[in-house]
Assembly symmetry: C2
Homo-oligomer: 181 residues x 2
């Protein structure tokens, strides 16, 4: 097996989160610090976040806009973060790599979560227009994903169909399929 | 200071690479393994790569399409990788998060490089149409970035203006600027 750093090997995207675990201010600062040090095109740092902590007002506004299938489990996470990116530079130039760079920042944040004994699970299933309106997000920012962050929980607390998915292998394409040309 | 995992803290994007260092097959396999295990929307794994090793034919085709400013330093890296992503699923559905997910895969690859004593520097400056033609890349894949990977070199070997940039601090926005709403 090719070498894989233990931090990368330990990262996964749970559906079972501990509904009693809270995200400390210290851990939140650590997650944002990790995102902050991601690389980006010309160091543009286009990533932006809205942080909802379980039961606070921002969390309510994020949660209510998730797809029903995601609402079945994501509310148990300690936090729901909206990950968005600027679409233009300060001088109005389009940021062509902003979605790519937001992905890098969220990857860093997710790996820092792993380092803290937490895990992150990114969601694409939400009503972006309604979420934007409910959070009053400026149109200069595009919403990428919602990130559920928390302490992994007990899969046996999940409904049966979700528990099956939680315990299933997450296969990956063989490397040969990733190589073009 | 907020906690930052040492692997994340040690990653940076050099311009000075060791022009004698070669990328071993073992290390290349490790870099691709790291990309492979990145998360993606519905586990779509849209990331694809073209690997050029210094002096091989693919490397020549990649290098010749870099912007002149990048050609001044990127040729010293051990490898130039084209990072691309699928634009639609196997059933023809658009992959809305593919650029974001490619960013995650490249972030994982870059962190694995750091773990191996290497570093990665992503480039947006290249002629994408010409690069696609020279590599005969299928139109179903969009090119994201080129990634220079190698062993960090001696900044004193760089031209003076690049050395100044190499040794400059890479500032980041304060976390307060990253928070919306």
């Amino acid at each position: 097996m090719p070498e894989l750093h233990p931090l990368l090997a330990a990262r996964w995207s749970p559906r079972a989160f501990d509904p009693r675990a809270e995200l400390s201010a210290t851990d939140l600062a650590s997650l944002l610090e990790a995102a902050r040090w991601a690389p980006s095109a010309a160091n543009s740092q286009p990533w932006r976040f809205v942080v909802g902590l379980r039961n606070d007002e921002r969390h309510k506004r994020i949660f209510t806009n998730l797809a029903p299938g995601n609402q079945r489990w994501a509310g148990a996470a300690s936090a729901l973060l909206v990950a968005a990116h600027a679409t233009t530079s300060a001088t109005g130039e389009p940021l062509r790599h902003a979605a790519h760079d937001l992905g890098q920042a969220v990857a860093h944040l997710s790996l820092q979560a792993t380092a803290l004994g937490l895990q992150a699970h990114q969601l694409g299933g939400f009503d972006a227009d309604s979420l934007r309106a409910d959070l009053d997000l400026p149109s200069a920012y595009a919403i990428g994903v919602v990130v559920a962050v928390g302490r992994p929980g007990d899969p046996d607390q999940l409904p049966a169909d979700l528990r099956t998915r939680e315990l299933a292998l997450r296969p990956r394409r063989p490397v040969a399929e990733l190589l073009l040309a």
